[in-house]
């Protein structure tokens, strides 16, 4: 006799009158494939956990963003934010799409050069630029964004020593109506510090003021804040035109566009609340087009968008290590993805889905990573179906920051693979090994075995 299909036994307490906040039942669609490649096949071949980047998504999101801005303003230039994801393959895809490089350290600067970006298409941000970094940037004609006065003086000195003119922009912080106001980078607009800096730069023959830059914050949900920032930079540009008859070449609005991830504590999911590229573009280009900048000298619009461009293209695939009941009866799941690989789990409620069809028995579940650390919590509370040891899970929208802020901790960092435009899977970063980890260690002579 053929055996009956088995279903895992479940029992749950009935709590009358407490539907979820949307009055909907919970259902998580399994993510069984990415760009047509079965998740199971990727894990079988490349191990678990493994990062996956979809080239198709990466390029299409970039084109969507570019379209939103170029249909509203004629001169738009994106610069790929290296700190968001500086895997060489990823950077090169953006550069192929026409993006420049935006770097914030000597290390990232060298990476951009190695990725074939011409020096004059590198924007150099950040508060830490050594004299050597500045010298290289000046000689290559890179756009140096001055963060503070000490850096300005360094830049003047290095440019004089090199006998070359430094192309610089002033980084401006300002009140755009959002909280918290970011004021640690650049010179302040409202208290006149930014104008003071400009008045030091303009007469100096070793410097050429090419642009004005601001980075108002991160995960900005209010496009109107960008309109305020654009207007304030435009007012500075007009003031420079009036006083010095000098036309700046670009206005750089930095990054900060939100991705569709859901922030911890948010009532509604990010997919419902995240502004579109069109929303941001409308606010920024509207303010620029309506500004008093002389019509024949409208500056180019630079954007250093990172998170919103790449988050959707990244996935982290993993495997269930164990099921466990906590002391209060709550279900918990241990997976092989820890916070060391998913740094963004500290601020997002990440989408996590089974990679196979599952039984419809959802329970409030805590999902832990594999680290022997109490803080290793991927989701503190999620209605999740029961999975078996060895089942796979997919965490989506993880393309931003996780492959740069990841921590080598307790175990090796895994492979990163790219699903290319042809639907082929290629390794773009190898897994660390014991050899990788020991490479930089130095054992003093007296501790070596004789």
């Amino acid at each position: 006799m053929e055996k009956l299909k088995f279903e895992r036994p479940v029992i749950s307490k009935i709590n009358a009158g407490v539907p979820d906040k949307f009055g909907m039942r919970t259902f998580i669609n399994p993510v069984t494939q990415i760009d047509g490649i079965p998740v199971k096949d990727i894990i079988d071949q490349y191990g678990s956990p493994v990062y996956v980047i979809s080239e198709k998504t990466l390029r299409s999101v970039y084109q969507e963003a570019l379209h939103a801005f170029t249909t509203r303003y004629p001169k738009v230039q994106f610069a790929w934010s290296y700190k968001t994801n500086y895997l060489n393959a990823v950077c090169r895809i953006y550069h192929q799409e026409g993006s420049w490089a935006e770097v914030v350290s000597g290390f990232e600067y060298n990476k951009a050069i190695d990725n074939g970006v011409p020096g004059n298409k590198i924007i150099f941000n950040g508060p830490d630029k050594s004299a050597g970094d500045l010298k290289k940037a000046i000689e290559n004609g890179s756009l140096i964004h001055i963060d503070h006065f000490d850096e300005l003086y360094d830049c003047i000195q290095v440019a004089k020593d090199a006998g070359k003119k430094a192309k610089i922009a002033i980084r401006v912080n300002m009140d755009t109506g959002i909280y918290p106001q970011w004021d640690r980078f650049g010179c302040n607009y409202e208290n006149g510090e930014a104008w003071d800096a400009i008045n030091k730069i303009m007469p100096d023959e070793s410097l050429e003021l090419t642009g004005l830059h601001t980075h108002i914050g991160t995960y900005i949900m209010t496009p109107a804040a960008y309109a305020v920032a654009t207007s304030k930079l435009a007012q500075l540009a007009v003031r420079i035109e009036k006083k010095y008859s000098h036309h700046i070449r670009y206005i750089d609005l930095g990054g900060g566009f939100a991705s569709k991830n859901t922030l911890k504590g948010a009532y509604l999911p990010g997919t419902d609340t995240c502004p579109s590229f069109d929303d941001y573009a409308e606010a920024i280009t509207g303010a620029l087009n309506n500004s008093d900048i002389e019509y024949g000298h409208m500056p180019a619009l630079f954007l250093e968008t990172g998170r919103a461009l790449i988050d959707d293209a990244g996935y982290l695939l993993g495997t269930v290590l164990a099921n466990k009941r906590l002391a209060n009866g709550r279900r918990s799941l241990i997976i092989d993805i820890g916070v060391n690989l998913l740094f963004t789990s500290f601020w997002y409620e990440h989408n996590i889905a089974p990679a196979q069809y599952h039984q419809n028995d959802y329970e409030d579940t805590t999902i832990y990573g594999p680290l022997c650390m109490n803080i290793d919590v991927i989701r503190a509370a999620i209605m999740f179906p029961s999975l078996n040891k060895g089942d796979h899970v997919v965490i989506s929208r993880i393309g931003a920051y996780n492959m740069t802020q990841w921590l080598q901790f307790i175990t090796y960092r895994p492979r990163v693979v790219l699903i290319n435009m042809k639907g082929e899977v290629e390794v773009i970063r190898e897994q660390e090994t014991n050899e990788t980890m020991n490479m930089l260690d130095v054992v003093p002579k007296h501790l070596k075995r004789s």
Binding site: K5, F6, P9, V10, I11, K13, R325, G329, N388
Partner: protein, 83 residues
């Protein structure tokens, strides 16, 4: 040995009612079958033999599910020891 408390009412639709506390629960068909066996004081080995004989599930896998089910029954205070 454990069994389901005798005051627990189980209906054929999987509705479970604890007359001591007034709490009610919902279980699925396999859960219902297990509750009935626990109420009838069937021992663990016999339950495993019966379930794995009728359903397409390996004994070790069933043991995992059953252990988890029992933890929840204990958590809801629906079991009592018979010895």
């Amino acid at each position: 040995m454990m069994r389901l408390k005798q005051n627990i009412v189980i209906t054929e639709t999987g509705f479970v009612f604890d007359s001591d506390t007034g709490d009610s629960y919902s279980t699925n068909p396999v859960g219902l079958e297990l509750l009935e066996k626990l109420k009838a004081n069937v021992d663990m080995d016999e339950i495993t033999a019966q379930i794995t004989g009728r359903y397409d599930v390996e004994p070790l896998q069933f043991q995992r599910y059953f252990d988890d089910f029992v933890i929840m029954l204990r958590h809801f205070n629906l079991l009592e020891d018979t010895e």
